[in-house]
């Protein structure tokens, strides 16, 4: 019987069905950061247990890490509560012999940037992490899911996840993305169309010409936001683009193991005629740049349209919170800050796209701040080698050290009350980027253009010319 990619990944990793009807799914790779792991390690200790397979676990601190004064290492963390969380990760990794890219390691970064960059996450793997954006790694043809802290402890202790199978959803992306429109716009439009609970209970596979023609980094942006549509996992089939991305990565197999891996990976796609429980089609040849106006990623509009009449209590509340009115255009939203970064959009290609737009221009004088936070130390290094940091700095951006930063503001990078921010992150929830802060989710190109204009503009007018 023809199988979907999700079915194949599930079947490859199913260990056994437990007597209670749930399944034990073998976990190949477990990524760890400082926020959701301390209670799990504590639980292990209290029960006198040890990690099942140490080498499966790789760690890096990202959420609390400051993006300035990094030469000070751990002493650069001025918030004592944050510092304790980061040193607790250090201690737990040392105690159990878990490899960590710590604050001083040039490979440190956002866990979802570091994993693929190092070849720590690979096609065909099951990948989990105590972070909902673990879906990012599905871009490699992997089954990658966010888990809670109890599950972090369970995976540490047993190398398995207690799981029930999800349903299959196909999102078929027809046509090719126009110039000035990016995978982030696609990700936002999908959520706008199906809603933030549209894919709850499903594993999504993104299929179609537009997806095939995307780079792995662009696919990661799409899979990253699967969770914003309610799906724990989003994925894309393995192809030559994946092969070329993975080849030569530090932790990728080599020699005869590489050939062996390729034999397996070639099959990581849905078979012809495979049955999906739900199929969604989206035509993107006329897709426009997207801007979120509300406090949920489904509250999103085309750059050239207007903020709609609220259709629910949630939408009315969102308008109040955002200080916006029906009928306003994205161009009418005066911005206070711009943030380019996060596990959604902080990879080298994102930075190249943004740099190209700001090159030779200046950040609008009415903005308080515009920051660029590369996803990892290696992304930062590559950008510096290409001179991108200088492009940003000359334009008036602040060039920062890697971490989650203003995506959720667990470190000092936060919005002030009432600030409107053009952000390349993934969530516009109330207070997400700072108490009473107002987030607008956009692509790196739209964020860069907005930084120059001081308000949203149609970036197609810039890259098209």
């Amino acid at each position: 019987m023809p199988s979907t990619l999700y079915d194949k990944l599930w079947n490859l990793h199913e260990v056994i069905q437990r007597e209670d009807g749930t399944h034990l799914l073998y976990i190949d790779r477990h990524l760890i950061h400082e926020v959701t792991s301390p209670q799990a390690f504590e639980g292990l200790k209290l029960a006198g247990r040890n990690p099942w397979r140490t080498s499966s676990n790789k760690a890096t601190p990202d959420h609390n890490i400051p993006t300035t004064n990094r030469e000070l290492g751990i002493e650069g963390i001025t918030d004592e509560v944050s510092k304790l969380q980061v040193t607790t990760l250090d201690d737990n990794c040392k105690e159990h012999g878990i490899e960590q890219f710590d604050i001083a390691d040039e490979r440190q970064g956002i866990v979802h940037v570091v994993g693929p960059e190092q070849g720590i996450t690979l096609p065909g793997m099951t990948v989990v992490c105590g972070d909902s954006h673990t879906s990012t790694h599905g871009a490699l043809g992997a089954l990658a899911m966010g888990i809670g802290t109890s599950e972090v402890e369970h995976v540490l202790a047993t190398q398995c996840l207690v799981a029930t199978k999800q349903k299959n959803m196909k999102i078929e992306v027809k046509g090719i993305l126009p110039k000035g429109v990016y995978s982030k716009d696609l990700a936002l439009r999908v959520i706008g169309n199906i809603g933030t609970a549209g894919a709850t209970g499903y594993a999504i596979e993104y299929i179609g010409e537009a997806v095939e023609s995307m780079s792995i980094e662009a696919r990661m942006t799409v899979c990253n936001m699967a969770i914003e549509a309610g799906a724990r996992a989003g994925m894309v089939a393995f192809d030559d683009v994946t092969l070329n991305y993975v080849k030569g990565k530090p932790y990728a197999p080599s020699g005869s193991e590489w050939d062996q891996a390729l034999d397996l990976w070639k099959n990581l796609k849905s078979d012809e005629g495979a049955s999906f429980d739900k199929t969604i089609e989206i035509h993107v040849s006329k897709l426009k740049p997207q801007v979120s106006w509300g406090t949920s990623p489904e509250m999103v509009i085309d750059i050239d349209s207007i903020i709609p009449e609220p259709k629910s209590n949630s939408e009315s509340n969102a308008l109040d919170y955002m200080g916006l009115k029906t009928g306003m255009r994205p161009q009418d939203i005066k911005l206070d800050q711009v943030f380019i970064g996060s596990c959604t959009n902080s990879r080298i290609e994102d930075l190249r796209i943004a740099a190209e737009i700001v090159k030779g221009s200046k950040v609008n004088k009415d903005l308080k701040r515009a920051i660029v936070v590369p996803g990892s130390g290696l992304v930062s290094k590559a950008a510096i080698e290409e001179g991108l940091d200088q492009v940003f700095v000359e334009a008036g951006f602040e060039w920062r050290a890697p971490g989650c930063s203003m995506c959720l503001g667990m470190n000092p990078d936060q919005l002030d009350e009432g600030d409107h921010c053009a952000s390349t992150s993934n969530r516009n929830f109330e207070g997400r980027q700072g108490y009473k802060g107002r987030t607008h989710l956009v692509s790196p190109a739209t964020a860069a253009a907005a930084a120059v204009a001081g308000h949203f503009v149609d970036v197609r007018d810039i890259v098209g010319s």
């Binding site: 926020v35 888990i147 809670g148 802290t149 190398q159 933030t196 609970a197 709850t200 949630s314």
Partner: protein, 211 residues
């Protein structure tokens, strides 16, 4: 061990869809390395009129009188009722710990986000999804100040006269996790031989995984 029935529970109604875990427990409180103490900061940004921070004396903060949790009528509620897609967003289990620390024993909504729903049962917090009509009925009852009984064994919600309001569905393994408070890791480790056997197999099939 949890009680089989939550008797005569007061309900607090949160009339919103898509309540995300950033609202349930804002990020600044996730810096803790403990599982306890999150209750005073449950729904922090909605509950207080200022921006909270960890370690603060919450009794000195000004409460938002418009937020339902601060309404005297709902003080001591053990059941929280809400609308669609409750618990969406971040995987932070702190959201569940905060609700339990506050005193919530059961959350009833029209639907839940996957990770939050899973996290509830890992901690013995009963999460029940009901139809729109039933949720509206519970909202009406809560506004009238009526209590309910949640009978997990028989999977039924009763009114104060012990008359059935609605039956609910729940998977057996989740029901048992609330009823018996099982050590899930201990249960999985009973299958150690199968896990070792699986690893033996992938040594040949996908050796790079084990490195």
């Amino acid at each position: 061990m949890n009680e089989y029935t939550i008797h005569s529970a007061k309900m607090v109604p949160l009339d919103r869809s898509n309540i995300d875990t950033d609202q349930i427990i804002p990020k600044q409180f996730l810096k803790s390395i403990k599982k306890t103490g999150f209750g005073p900061n449950l729904f922090d940004s909605w509950r207080y009129l200022d921006s909270g921070f960890p370690g603060q004396d919450n009794s000195k903060r000004q409460l938002n009188p418009e937020f339902v949790l601060n309404d005297k009528k709902y003080k001591g509620s053990e059941v929280l009722i809400s609308k669609e897609n409750f618990g969406c967003g971040s995987s932070r289990e702190h959201a569940v710990w905060a609700m339990q620390d506050y005193g919530i024993k059961c959350v009833i909504a029209q639907s839940f986000a996957d990770i939050f729903y899973n996290n509830c049962f890992k901690n013995g917090l009963l999460a029940i999804s009901l139809s729109k009509d039933s949720i509206e009925e519970l909202f009406r009852l809560s506004e009238k100040g009526e209590n309910i009984h949640v009978d997990l064994i028989n999977q039924v919600i009763l009114d104060s006269n012990e008359l059935e309001i609605v039956k609910f569905e729940i998977e057996d393994f989740r029901k048992n996790s609330v009823l018996e408070g099982l050590d899930e890791i201990g249960l999985s480790l009973k299958y150690s031989k199968s896990i070792l056997g699986y690893e033996e197999n992938i040594k040949k099939l996908t050796p790079w995984i084990l490195k």
